[in-house]
């Protein structure tokens, strides 16, 4: 198997990277009809598998689960998840041949083995559904020509997919049809119906391609979403401790701060987040985020280049082959950082205090979101996709840090994201060493406004506001957020 993207001529690469269409709700009026009465068989019953299945069944569809023989015989968690909810569970041999749609919700790493095992069992003209395109795009998996290959990727953890559905909403979802495998032209209609079945159509659906999804997803998760949040959190914590701020306070500020700050981002974009600062703090945050963008731009570009060339995926797959040697070592090292080992102190931090005392993180987030967005768009990814994979997902990842710090974040995200996150973090920390020597506690740990008179130069402020508001991530973000009216607040501790 060879990297699918690299087999394409340039014009076709650009063509597939540029698939991006925010779908109108009128496109979903046919509901789940296309899948009604069809047999949906889900491979794997973890958090995504179980919760998507519960939603699909509650939408009136026929859902069952297939697991490996060992998982069934050993009555593993996946088997319990499915049977305790009264789903039919069977082996590949029992269920795959009956399936009209096979939904592969196993981890990336298992895709090649799973798809190789199930493909010969699939009936002619069936559909294979992925929720991530890595296997098709990076590993170049070839699917039998009679099979339709589609992707439906809810942009939230499985538990949220369920919670939002039963509340009558859904989570934003990305769909795609693989152009090499749409023999009957039914892929898009099925993907849309699946979206309705999981509730995604109520929260905004982006039509993308396998290529655009993979290349933008990898970029987002490695840089702003996981990488920079990890680097920024660790550097901030270490700086506070170095400057004599109480470690318990520092730990709490970092653990929850990123969630509170990005909650403002979620509702009002970079502008909304920056507007939570006082004017002097905003001016300062703008200046240092400009500096951060200049320092980090080459690193963001390198990540995008390695993703496009396939360098990243081949390096990571080599680590898979080596039994995840690097991944496991880096994961262990993250667990040993001082931030991870210092419990959050028993102090109350008011919501506004998270902004005033953690201006540095506001600057990190602005720099990271804008850089990731700019770099993706320069690489041929459409602004809508770039928005989803940068700004939109940042609060979701921040939420995992608030729950249980970086260890939790790295546990929740895929191994692929985790691997890329560590690569970024290792390269980014030395890049920022000089910058961090200039940072003092007014930017992290203490109230920035303390001892300042609050005055700013009118023209400076106007220029900054103008620069923030007219950035392309804000323009597209305003449009997309309006379309996704189901903005729900994340509860903070």
């Amino acid at each position: 198997m060879s990297n699918y993207f690299n087999t394409l001529p340039l014009r076709e690469q650009l063509n597939q990277l540029g698939v991006c269409d925010f779908m109108d709700s009128a496109e979903f009026l046919d509901g789940v009809n296309v899948l009604k009465g069809k047999k949906l068989v889900i491979v794997g019953c973890g958090a995504q598998g179980l919760n998507q299945g519960l939603n699909l069944r509650d939408s009136g569809l026929d859902v069952s689960y297939t697991l490996r023989k060992e998982a069934i015989e050993g009555k593993r968690d996946s088997w319990k998840n499915a049977t305790e909810n009264n789903f039919t569970v069977g082996t590949y041999e029992e269920l795959i041949p009956t399936a009209d749609v096979v939904i592969n919700l196993t981890p990336d790493k298992q895709h090649t083995a799973v798809v190789t095992a199930i493909m010969p069992l699939m009936k002619k003209g069936a559909t294979l559904l992925y929720s991530h395109g890595f296997n098709i795009v990076e590993e170049g998996m070839q699917i039998r020509k009679d099979i339709t290959v589609i992707m439906v990727a809810p942009k939230c953890p499985g538990s949220e997919v369920r919670a939002e559905y039963v509340r009558g909403f859904g989570v934003p979802t990305l769909i795609a049809v693989h152009p090499e495998n749409d023999p009957e032209g039914k892929g898009l209609a099925q993907a849309k119906a699946y979206c309705v079945g999981t509730g995604g159509h109520r929260a905004g659906v982006l039509k993308s391609s396998f290529v655009a999804e993979v290349k933008s997803d990898l970029m987002g998760e490695q840089t702003i979403l996981c990488g920079l949040l990890q680097t920024g959190s660790i550097l901030s914590f270490d700086k506070m401790v170095e400057k004599g701020i109480d470690a318990g306070y520092a730990s709490k500020l970092v653990q929850y701060g990123v969630e509170v700050i990005t909650e403002a981002l979620k509702h009002g974009g970079v502008t909304g987040m920056m507007d939570r600062l006082s004017n002097p703090a905003k001016v300062k945050a703008f200046e240092i985020s400009e500096e951060l963008k200049n320092i980090m731009r080459p690193l963001f570009q390198k990540h995008q280049d390695d993703i496009m060339s396939g360098e990243f995926s081949s390096t990571m797959m080599a680590d898979w082959a080596a039994g995840d040697k690097n991944l496991l070592a880096w994961r262990a090292a993250t667990g040993e950082t001082a931030f991870e080992k210092t419990p959050a102190g028993d102090v109350k931090i008011a919501e506004q205090e998270y902004f005033d005392n953690y201006t540095l993180m506001v600057a990190f987030v602005r720099a990271g979101v804008e850089l990731a967005f700019e770099t993706m768009v320069q690489a041929g990814i459409k602004p809508e996709s770039a928005y989803y994979e940068s700004l939109h997902e940042t609060p979701l990842i921040a939420n995992t840090i608030a729950r249980k710090k970086l260890f939790e974040m790295n546990r929740v995200i895929s191994d692929t994201a985790e691997y890329g996150c560590y690569l970024f973090d290792q390269a980014c920390k030395p890049l920022l060493a000089d910058f961090m020597t200039k940072v003092d506690t007014d930017l992290v740990g203490k109230n920035f406004n303390e001892g300042k008179d609050g005055g700013v130069d009118n023209r400076t402020l106007i220029a900054i506001n103008e620069a923030l508001r007219t950035h392309e991530v804000e323009v597209i973000g305003t449009k997309l957020r309006k379309a996704m009216t189901a903005m729900k607040s994340i509860k903070t501790a």
Partner: protein, 502 residues
């Protein structure tokens, strides 16, 4: 001899930016046990929180603890609702979560919760079992917090308070969700601890109080006003005391099937624990039922099956609105025929929705609004907002309102689409007696148009008049199904009330 225990002078408190308490004075002497009653939103909860030191107030609150007493020198406040978080410190729950086993393991068990409470306050663990037994809670030790019903949450709060036996105990809506027997047992326990030296402040509009309650008060215009025991049922103006809004009253409800519910040997269990046992039940279109049973008898689980909220519905044999459950219908097709309110729906409702959004979301069966409802739905919603007296709160967020007002908004949400089946699970929790009476009269009015009703209420005196059938659950099984014979007479008297000029 009656030195003051709590002395409050010139207390001022604002809720959001509105003044709630204004120069309030109150002296509580030893051996006094007070009842604080009256309309919702008058400031009872705010006052309680101020005394307990959990709300910010201005003025003087002095508490003289008894140095000779061996009871903890503390004021303990039992909130009107049980607040809890999952093991990761989040409280982003949804009301259907307790029916799905995989989603319940994220919260602590009752046992762990009680152990940490006991350790924190250095309590004697040997005293716990008798309290648990008295409130019928012993078997729930291994349940997780999210699995408990609202009545069980209330009991857990009460168990803690009674175990602690503080010198001053404030109980905010202690009877909410409790069945008749539990209320009696609670009163006995309260009398016991009062005897032993705990002074009580109860916030409640219920009738059956512990006999040790000897002072009564309401809050009027931000001030405490003492009343006599007989003055408790206030006659405040109440907008619910009006004819049913025309868009509801004048529309006949057409039932989708002559048989709304038909259950055949329905069983629900979680592992070894059987929650519903061989339930057989038929509800025909237009029938008005009351569903009763002790706390934990399976009422909520039974209703969750009807509302499409229980994943085990697919393993059972029952029909809803004429279709076999699991024959290709979606839960949204079921929900659009049902108007539901329950303590759990209220508790887990989107707190960041406005009153308007909450009510209009009843058209879509969502917790909060996700689309533009269009003109006619907005107009109908506005009409109900006025009917429920919520005009000034139309754009207020739910979590900025007192419980009673939130409840009114959710009652409006329940009826806004004039559904063919109304499921009212303790609908009047948190309302005062007057509001309860009026709401039940509204239910009577609505139900005249062919609506099918299932009403859960522990007290006969607090049921709508239209109820004609009763199903009684006990330990997960149907104990009895019966016709309520008086229904004919009651229906006639309703007619008379309707013609009465106010």
């Amino acid at each position: 001899m009656s030195q003051p225990v709590v002395h409050i002078a010139n207390l001022n408190l604002k809720y959001q930016s509105k003044p709630v308490l204004q120069d309030l004075n109150w002296t509580i002497n030893r051996y006094e046990n007070w009842l604080l009653c009256g309309t919702s939103g008058s400031g009872k909860t705010s006052l309680a929180k101020a005394i307990a030191g959990v709300a910010h107030s201005y003025g003087n609150i002095k508490i003289e603890f008894n140095a000779q007493s061996n009871l903890p020198a503390t004021v303990y406040y039992v909130a009107n609702w049980f607040q809890f978080k999952d093991l990761e410190g989040q409280s982003n729950f949804y009301y259907q979560q307790r029916y799905n086993k995989q989603s319940t393991e994220t919260t602590a068990t009752v046992k762990a919760e009680l152990e940490s409470f006991g350790k924190k306050h250095a309590l004697q663990f040997n005293e716990l079992d008798s309290i648990l037994a008295a409130l019928g809670f012993s078997e729930l030790k291994h349940s997780t917090l999210i699995q408990l019903s609202s009545g069980e949450h209330k009991k857990l709060q009460l168990v803690k308070a009674i175990w602690l036996k503080p010198q001053v105990l404030i109980l905010d809506l202690p009877y909410n969700g409790l069945d008749t027997l539990s209320r009696q047992n609670l009163n006995a326990l309260l009398e016991e601890i009062s005897e032993a030296g705990t002074q009580l402040i109860l916030i409640s509009n219920d009738d059956e109080l512990p006999s040790c309650i000897n002072r009564f008060a309401v809050i009027k215009e931000g001030q405490l006003v003492e009343i006599s025991a007989d003055e408790r049922t206030g006659n405040e103006f109440d907008t619910l005391d009006q004819p049913v809004p025309a868009f509801l009253a004048e529309t006949m409800v057409t039932s989708s099937s002559a048989e709304i519910i038909k259950m055949i040997d329905v069983n629900i269990s979680y592992g070894e624990k059987r929650v519903l046992k061989n339930i057989n039940w038929e509800v025909k279109a237009g029938e008005k039922w009351v569903l009763q049973g002790h706390n934990g008898s399976g009422k909520s689980t039974l209703l969750s099956l009807i509302c499409g909220d229980h994943p085990q519905a697919y393993a059972n044999n029952f029909h809803l609105f004429g279709n076999k459950r699991g024959s290709g219908e979606s839960i949204w097709e079921i929900k659009k025929r049902i108007g539901l309110i329950s303590p759990e729906l209220h508790w887990y409702f989107d707190p960041s929705a406005t009153v308007f959004q909450s009510i209009v979301s009843g058209f879509y069966d969502s917790s909060g609004l996700f689309c533009d409802p269009g003109y006619s739905k907005k107009v109908q919603t506005d009409e109900l907002i006025s009917y429920f007296g919520l005009d000034e709160f139309k754009n207020t967020l739910m979590n900025e309102l007192p419980l009673g007002k939130q409840r009114l908004a959710l009652l409006a949400r329940t009826i806004v689409k004039n559904p063919e089946l109304l499921i009212l699970d303790e609908p009047c929790q948190g309302l005062d007696q007057q509001q309860t009476k009026h709401f039940n009269r509204l239910v009577d009015g609505l139900c005249k148009n062919g609506t099918t009703l299932i009403y859960v209420g522990h007290f006969e005196s607090q049921l709508p008049d239209c109820i004609e059938k009763r199903i009684l659950l006990e330990n997960g099984a149907v104990k009895s199904v019966e016709n309520i014979l008086e229904s004919v007479e009651i229906a006639e008297s309703v007619e008379n009330v309707e013609n009465f000029e106010y």
